[in-house]
């Protein structure tokens, strides 16, 4: 233990506050900017105090959108993003849980081979395989659909690997006790393994949700129909769309709204999430 030292404490706090300020400041600016009328930004000076137009700005982005620039109201885009992120999260979790379960608890031919194949895909993120993946999705007619948005992103080597490591720490006697107790493999998975992994699931849920929410390149490629635009690409369209100056106050309002769902998910899962990262159930 470091001894309690008044000046040391003070210094530590100054450094911490400084660090927090650096992270918080852009967020603060975004929130402030979203409360000003459109003219404010043309003067080239960023205001640091809230303006009068908060309600109006948020109402505009949520309900009307910028029809002239071709972006729909963001409520629709928020919903698209949410559906996509949830589909990716739930899909990733169920597939990786099941494949880790298979790899750890079943003896089948080429088990180790399949594990390494899954492991290898860690090295192939969407950006690397984007052209062939696009071709496949296009051939399957999944452009402009939720299936096309989420399915190519669903397989997850990371989650499979993490669950495998966790399952390997679960004592084998538990599985044997369950067998003696008359539980088949899937019952053991549902009754014993899933509840034991709940903290890991929560942690991965948060990580995967944010991963899905933040997808940019993939939705940009495969959606041409505004009905399937996600919020992250929507922001980009608002900045570059149309011939006029970007309407920064509306962009900022959108940014703030886009940042909300991940924050809500973290808050909702926080208790389990922190537990899952720091604690191992004995």
């Amino acid at each position: 233990m470091v001894e309690n030292n008044r000046w040391g404490n003070l210094l530590a706090h100054i450094i911490l506050i400084f660090g927090v300020a650096i992270v918080i400041f852009p967020v603060y600016v975004a929130i402030i900017a979203s409360t000003h009328p459109s003219g404010t930004f043309l003067r080239g000076v960023m205001p640091l105090l809230p303006g009068p137009n908060a309600l109006e700005n948020y109402k505009t982005v949520i309900l009307e959108g910028r029809s002239r620039a071709g972006t729909p109201p963001i409520s629709g885009m928020l919903w698209n993003s949410f559906v996509m992120a949830m589909a990716i999260t739930i899909g990733k979790l169920s597939i990786s849980l099941l494949s880790a379960f298979a790899i750890v608890y079943f003896r089948f031919p080429f088990r180790i081979f399949f594990f390494w194949v899954i492991f290898l895909t860690l090295m192939l993120p969407i950006e690397v395989r984007i052209l062939p993946t696009f071709q496949v999705v296009a051939d399957l007619g999944m452009l402009n659909s939720f299936a096309g948005l989420s399915i190519p992103l669903i397989a997850s080597a990371t989650a499979t690997f993490l669950f495998r490591q966790f399952f390997m720490t679960v004592p084998e006697e538990l599985m044997e006790a369950a067998r003696v107790d008359g539980a088949g493999p899937m019952k053991f998975f549902k009754d014993i393994l899933m509840p034991l992994s709940i903290t890991n699931i929560a942690a991965l849920f948060v990580i995967m949700f944010i991963y899905g929410w933040n997808q940019y390149l993939w939705p940009l490629l495969i959606t041409t129909d505004p009905e399937y635009y996600t919020i992250v690409m929507g922001i980009q369209r608002m900045v570059t769309g149309g011939d006029s100056e970007p309407l920064w106050h509306l962009v900022m309002a959108t940014v703030v709204l886009a940042a909300l769902p991940p924050i809500l998910v973290i808050l909702f899962m926080q208790r389990l999430f922190v537990k899952g990262l720091t604690e191992t159930e004995k």
Partner: protein, 350 residues
């Protein structure tokens, strides 16, 4: 309630390791059989074969009337108590006990009745709502027992259930398990490496070594007439002293050894069969130098060096004698208490 019959059971692991070779054993209904042996002797493997957790490479296994070789553990009507208890950590004690019953489709009322009965029997009724991690080692052991009890199975299988407990609790649980088993009269197979547990709990003892049965018998049988030098050395603490027969023949009046078979070239003497008395008619007398006196409360262990003998002898006396280390001491052993063995085969000769 059922008997268990093992007919020429073999276990060969992939890679050719033979863990169990040719086990034949009949366990009567309601009998408590203890499998004992050193680590790696195959006792746990044999138990797990009976449980259905290890496949049987060769031979047939009957539980009751049925051949169960290819049945899942759940279909064999057995219950198992694991060494590390294997309680489901996320379930309450009640649910731990109830899980096996739920899977078998018992009614809620029946589950409730059975769990409460078992909990009362094991005095864990107060903990039914707790999770396993909130329990002490002894309490977890009881819950593990309870999980086996509620099922009312044909046979209990115990895999070193007491080895994670401290010495005092172990003695207490040993007594309780034995009483419970006698009361329920359920056929039981109990694996341990602790010979005291084996001797005190068993109706019959099975001593295993290298995947084979060395001896089967009641504890007193096995103790008083060990069939092999391995059993002689394994059962009994301190272990039986082994002397070359030639050494005895050179130091004793030949009349006293006349009853020993010619084939016996190794003689075993239990540490407690040697006494500090004047030899009577036909008794053997041995004189050696005291190396170390170990007082152990009610008894004492004396380590002696005999001239011309490579290994030290250990003698157990039911008191602490007033002797000093380095002193020469004479011991008497009755003729009947010599255990003759054939040194080459390790078998008892009679």
């Amino acid at each position: 309630m059922a008997s268990i019959t093992m007919d020429n059971l073999h276990k060969v692991y992939t890679g050719g390791v033979r863990a169990v070779t040719g086990i034949n054993l009949d366990i009567a209904d309601g009998e408590m059989i203890v499998l004992v042996g050193p680590s790696g002797c195959g006792k746990s493997t044999l138990l797990r074969m009976v449980a259905g957790l290890e496949t049987i490479s060769e031979g047939t296994l009957h539980i009751g009337e049925r051949v169960v070789n290819n049945l899942e553990p759940a279909d064999r009507d057995i219950a198992m108590v694991f060494q590390n208890y294997a309680l489901y950590p996320h379930m309450t004690v009640f649910n731990n006990l109830a899980y096996g019953l739920k899977n078998r489709g018992f009614s809620k009322a029946e589950i409730d009745r059975r769990v409460r009965d078992a909990a009362e029997m094991l005095e864990i009724g107060a903990f039914l709502d707790r999770k396993p991690r909130q329990l002490s080692g002894g309490q977890r052991q009881r819950v593990a027992m309870g999980r086996a009890l509620v099922r009312e199975p044909a046979a209990f299988l115990f895999d070193e259930p007491l080895s994670n407990l401290d010495a005092k609790l172990r003695v207490q649980m040993r007594v309780e398990i034995r009483q419970l088993q006698k009361r329920l009269a359920t056929t039981s197979l109990y694996v341990t490496h602790d010979q005291l547990e084996a001797l005190t709990m068993a109706d019959r003892l099975v001593v295993l070594n290298g995947g084979q049965i060395e001896q089967v018998g009641t504890p007193m049988d096995v103790y008083s007439r060990p069939a092999t030098t391995f059993v002689a050395g394994f059962i009994g603490s301190p272990a039986m002293n082994m002397l070359p027969a030639d050494y005895l023949r050179s130091t004793q009046a030949s009349d006293n050894l006349a009853h020993l078979p010619q084939a016996a070239d190794l003689i075993g003497i239990r540490p407690e069969d040697l006494a500090l008395e004047t030899p009577g008619d036909g008794d053997l007398s041995l004189t050696g130098k005291l190396l170390l006196l170990e007082p152990a409360g009610a008894e004492s262990h004396l380590h002696l060096k005999f001239d011309g003998l490579h290994e030290n002898m250990i003698i157990r006396l039911p008191h602490v004698p007033s002797v000093i280390e380095g002193q020469a001491l004479s011991f008497t052993v009755r003729r009947d208490n010599l255990h003759p063995f054939d040194g080459a085969t390790g078998k008892r000769v009679s």
